[in-house]
Assembly symmetry: C2
Homo-oligomer: 258 residues x 2
C-alpha cells in the first residue's frame, strides 16, 4: 500500500550521492512504472535510514539515482528469526514475502528429516525479501540465509536466544502463554522454528524438547499448512513480544518501528 516507489540499494546514502539501481529495479522503474528521469523515488539500505531521491538517468537495465535528503532515521525490525523447512516454490515465495511484511529480522531455511524440498535458490529468496521490504516501508531487508541442516543450527545455537518450536502434537502450551511465561519478553532474544509438511520426525521433536533453549508451542486446534503456521506465529509474536505497539510511519508522526 506504499504510495511512493521505494528501492533498496547496497550503497551508502547521503545528500548528493549518486547511486545505481539493480537491473531489475531499473526495469521496474522504466518498463513497469514507466517513470522518467527527474521523477522521485525513496531509497533505503538498512543502515542510513530512508532518503528521497530522483531518477538521474534511466536506460535498459540501468538507472542512476541522485540522493536528495533524509526522510526517516534508520530503525530495526524486532529481533525475531524465522527458521522453516522449505516448501514448494509458490508457497515459499509467499512465505518469504509475508514474513518480511510481518517484520522478521532473519529468515533461514532449515533442512529437517522430512523436508520435502531440498533445493532452495537463496538468491531468489533474497530478491523476494528485498522486494517485500521495498513495499512494506521497512527500512531494512531481512537477512536471508542459505539452507542449513537443523542439527548444524542446533549445534551452534546462541545461548541467549529462545527457540520456539511449533509442535502439532503433545501438550505444548499455546504460543501466547509461552511468551507470557517469559519474565521479560524482550529477553532473551527469540526465534521461531516451523517444521515441514507432515511435521517433525518424532525423535527429531523429542531431541528438540531436550534442549534447554527450546520451548515447544501450540498454534491452536486446526492443522495449519507450514506457511500458515509461520505467518500466524510471527503475527502473534509481534503482537505479544514485538513492536505492534507502534504505528506505521508518517501516519501519525509515529516512528516506523521501536
Amino acid at each position: 500500500m506504499a504510495s511512493a516507489t521505494r528501492l533498496f540499494v547496497e550503497q551508502d546514502l547521503n545528500a548528493g550521492a549518486v547511486v545505481g539501481a539493480s537491473a531489475d529495479q531499473a526495469h521496474y522503474l522504466r518498463s513497469v512504472l514507466r517513470m522518467k528521469g527527474g521523477e522521485p523515488v525513496l531509497l533505503f539500505n538498512g543502515r542510513d535510514g530512508e532518503w528521497s531521491a530522483r531518477i538521474d538517468g534511466l536506460g535498459k537495465g540501468w538507472a542512476s539515482l541522485k540522493v536528495l535528503e533524509k526522510r526517516r532515521d534508520q530503525t530495526a525490525s524486532p529481533d525475531l528469526w524465522l527458521l522453516f523447512a522449505p516448501i514448494k516454490r509458490a508457497r515459499h515465495d509467499f512465505l518469504i514475502q509475508k514474513a518480511t511484511e510481518l517484520g522478521c529480522a532473519r529468515i533461514s531455511p532449515v533442512l529437517t528429516r522430512r523436508t520435502q524440498v531440498e533445493r532452495v535458490k537463496d538468491e531468489r529468496l533474497r530478491a523476494n525479501a528485498i522486494e517485500a521490504a521495498e513495499q512494506c516501508e521497512r527500512l531494512e531487508a531481512p537477512q536471508v540465509d542459505a539452507p542449513r541442516k537443523l542439527q548444524d543450527w542446533l549445534d551452534a545455537w546462541p545461548a541467549d536466544r529462545r527457540l520456539l518450536v511449533a509442535a502439532e502434537s503433545g501438550d505444548a502450551p499455546p504460543l501466547a502463554e509461552a511468551l507470557a511465561a517469559e519474565p521479560d519478553p524482550d529477553r532473551p532474544r527469540w526465534a521461531l522454528l516451523i517444521g515441514p509438511e507432515g511435521g517433525f520426525a518424532q525423535d527429531e521433536l523429542e531431541s528438540l524438547r531436550q534442549l534447554a533453549f527450546v520451548t515447544p508451542v501450540g498454534l491452536g486446534p486446526r492443522v495449519l499448512r507450514a506457511e500458515t503456521a509461520a505467518l500466524a506465529a510471527i503475527a502473534v509474536w509481534q503482537s505479544a513480544a514485538g513492536d505492534w505497539g507502534s504505528r506505521p510511519p508518517g501516519r501519525n508522526g509515529g516512528s516506523g518501528a521501536e
Copy 2:
C-alpha cells in the same frame, strides 16, 4: 498436513448411509489420488461430526461413498467473522484458504469506496473455503457470503457483535490491547474488517469510528498488504480470544475445537 482424505458433503451423515461426492471431489479421488472402490475416506457436513466412509463406486465425475462410523463429534470454529474488501484473484484465493485454515466462522467480501475489485465469484470463494476446510481438519466450512456494500452491512449490524476495524492511520490501539480491554473476551461476538489496498477513504474511516459497535485497531508499524493484515489479525484474535488453548484433534486426545 491431514493424513486421511477428507471430503465435505451436503447430505446427512449416519451409519450405513450412501452419499454422493461432487464432480470435483470425484475427479480428485479418481484422477489425482488414483483411489479405487473400497478405499477409506473421511466425511463431514458441518452438522453431524466426522465419519469414516469407504468408496462404494467411482466413475468419471461421480463417486458414491458408504458411511461407516462416527469418528469425531461436531465442533464449531470460534464465532469470528472476516469482512474484507476484495483483492486481486490469486491473493484472494489465498486469503480465503488461509482464513479458513485459521478458523473464521464467516467470510464476507465487502465493497468499500476504494475497493478495486468489484466482481467477485462467490461460488469460487465457497469452493476455495470448502477445499481448505477439507485439508485443515475443520468439521465445518466457513459461511461465505456474496459481496455486499459496506454501508449495507453497517445499517443492519447485529448489536451484540463488536467490529474490529484495521486502521492504518490514527491512534488506534493495537489489536491485542483492544481485545484485553474487553471485560469478557467471549462477549460480545467479534468481527474483523480489513479495508482495501490504499486503505479506507478518510470520511469512510471517520464514519466507522462514530459507530458504537466499532473499535479501530492497529496491526503494528509495518504497512501490510490487505491479505497479510487479515491473516495477522485473525491469528492474533484466535490466540487472544479464540481457541488456541486447545490442540489439534487426535494428537493428544484433545477435542479439535472448543
